[in-house]
């Protein structure tokens, strides 16, 4: 029990460290406003979690700080210039409705960040999908001017991107606050994978699904370009690390988690291809919640059956031994 609790806190700590690095990059590209939005989101999430736990008559422990990583993930998926009020409402929704209503930290059904993002998309679509250019620093209480669509939107509509490989690698393109830094995300993914903080099966499944689909149905002239853009755009890499491979949601065994990630990637790729649905992977990962639950149940059932078989085999052996000794 103690080991589990420690494990949970360490996972949260590792994830929050990788998220902070993305937040630092965001500060470099978008200025103090990005840090301010993140601060508001984290404080709101912690306050909401505290109130929800009080209402449920449960103590607020260090483990409950995991809500702050959800708030950080949500912050990195939205534009820096988003209205503060909207951010507060989204965080309250993510923590209160998507997490605590369903039983809180120990009974997670949805990724709170994904639920919060879909809520933002349905309620404030234009505010969620309109961004400033990188290096445009908007003041804390200024209204942003010259908002543009993201690089993902441009790619979904035209199939082309006018950014160099270096710019894409460094995230120097129009997009959400912190989900475009490919190099940083790749390093974060590796760290989290090696430290077993994210579900390796789900992550590899998601990436494999995207690669397979972009090879089967390329969106660019060459396979190489198609795979590159498919992974970089539409928050595929970011969502694969922080949402699809979230250990709280994904099936425990890598074998099942792989197929969970694979199906999410395939469906979201089809949605992007046919409907040019921006950031479809976040929406699909939310819709695939029943699949994750079904796979978890399947895992449990198989484990129980194995245990029963082992127990019966052990009892048969004991009976045989007893019979032999009696003889």
């Amino acid at each position: 029990m103690l080991k589990n609790a420690k494990q949970e806190r360490l996972i949260w700590l590792d994830i929050i460290i990788t998220l902070i690095t993305s937040q630092i990059m965001a500060y470099f590209y978008y200025g103090a406003r990005s840090a301010f939005v993140a601060g508001i989101a984290v404080v709101t999430a912690a306050a909401t979690e505290f109130i929800c736990l009080r209402l449920r008559r449960k103590p607020f422990t260090a483990d409950d700080l995991t809500c702050t990583s959800d708030a950080m993930i949500l912050t990195l998926m939205v534009p820096t210039v988003i209205d503060y009020k909207i951010m507060v409402i989204a965080c309250v929704f993510a923590i209160a409705v998507a997490k605590n209503v369903f039983g809180g930290r120990k009974n997670m059904i949805f990724s709170p960040a994904a639920a919060g993002y879909v809520f933002l998309l349905t309620s404030w679509r234009s505010q969620t999908l309109q961004f400033t250019e990188p290096h445009v620093h908007t003041g804390l209480f200024e209204k942003a001017a010259n908002l543009v669509s993201s690089a993902s939107h441009t790619f979904n509509v035209s199939g082309k991107l006018e950014y160099s490989n270096f710019e894409l690698l460094m995230g120097n393109c129009v997009g959400p606050t912190g989900s475009a830094y490919v190099l940083l995300l790749a390093i974060s993914a590796l760290i989290l994978l090696f430290r077993r903080d994210i579900s390796a099966g789900a992550f590899i499944g998601s990436i494999s699904g995207t690669v397979i689909m972009s090879l089967l149905s390329p969106t660019a002239d060459s396979f190489h370009t198609s795979v590159k853009y498919a992974l970089i755009t539409n928050m595929v890499l970011f969502a694969s690390v922080y949402i699809v491979a979230d250990k709280r949601i994904a099936p425990k065994k890598d074998y099942y988690a792989f197929f969970y990630g694979l199906f999410i990637a395939i469906v979201s790729y089809i949605l992007v291809l046919t409907m040019a649905k921006e950031n479809a992977i976040v929406i699909v990962s939310l819709l695939f919640t029943p699949v994750a639950l079904a796979l978890k149940n399947l895992e449990k059932r198989i484990e129980n059956e194995k245990k029963q078989e082992e127990d019966t085999a052990a009892s048969e052996n004991e009976e045989k031994l007893e019979a032999e000794t009696n003889a």
């Binding site: 209205d83 009020k85 909207i86 409402i89 409705v97 209503v101 809520f119 349905t122 309620s123 404030w124």
Partner: protein, 203 residues
Amino acid sequence: MRKKNLILEGLWNDNTVLSAFMVISPVIICGDTLRNALALIYAFSAITFVSVLISSFVPQRLPYAAKIMIYAVISSIVFIPAKLAAQEFFPGVVERIGIYFPLLAVNSLIVFQTEARFFRMKKSRMMISLISYILGFDAVMLITAFIRELFAYGTINSRMVDMDTLISGLGLPFGGFIFLGLFSGIFRKLRSATERNKDKEDA
């Protein structure tokens, strides 16, 4: 059961929507504006009251399946003048509500609660209980529509209100579903709190 308890039964203790989760689809799908809500309240109240009243004269000796079919036929007949009147009083709203309007004719109060509850009572008590259940639905519908219209569209009965931030997702079915879930949770919490207070007073 005393008359006061009978009135409170459908409104508070055993609310059609919040307690029993019956007739929730029109509340979730169409309960996003007060205009829709008023049309649905009128239709639900008229169809349910008249249908249950007429159905109460159906002989109870008949087989259960036959009685349910007769109730459905009665409510379908009652639905025709109710719809014509609704088109007169709420022009355009009936079309907007779509399939959920005719579905009111076979709502759970008519189909299930009649046999399980209403027809086991005396006529006078049945009337009081029925009205209480209908009012329970009406109140929930009205509150839900008011809050959803205000926060989703920034209007009250189609009149603009000075709202700074609108949550348009609340006007969608998924928003309605989440809202109703939270509303039901708060309702149950309040109900159990009042019951606890009552028990303390009794003790």
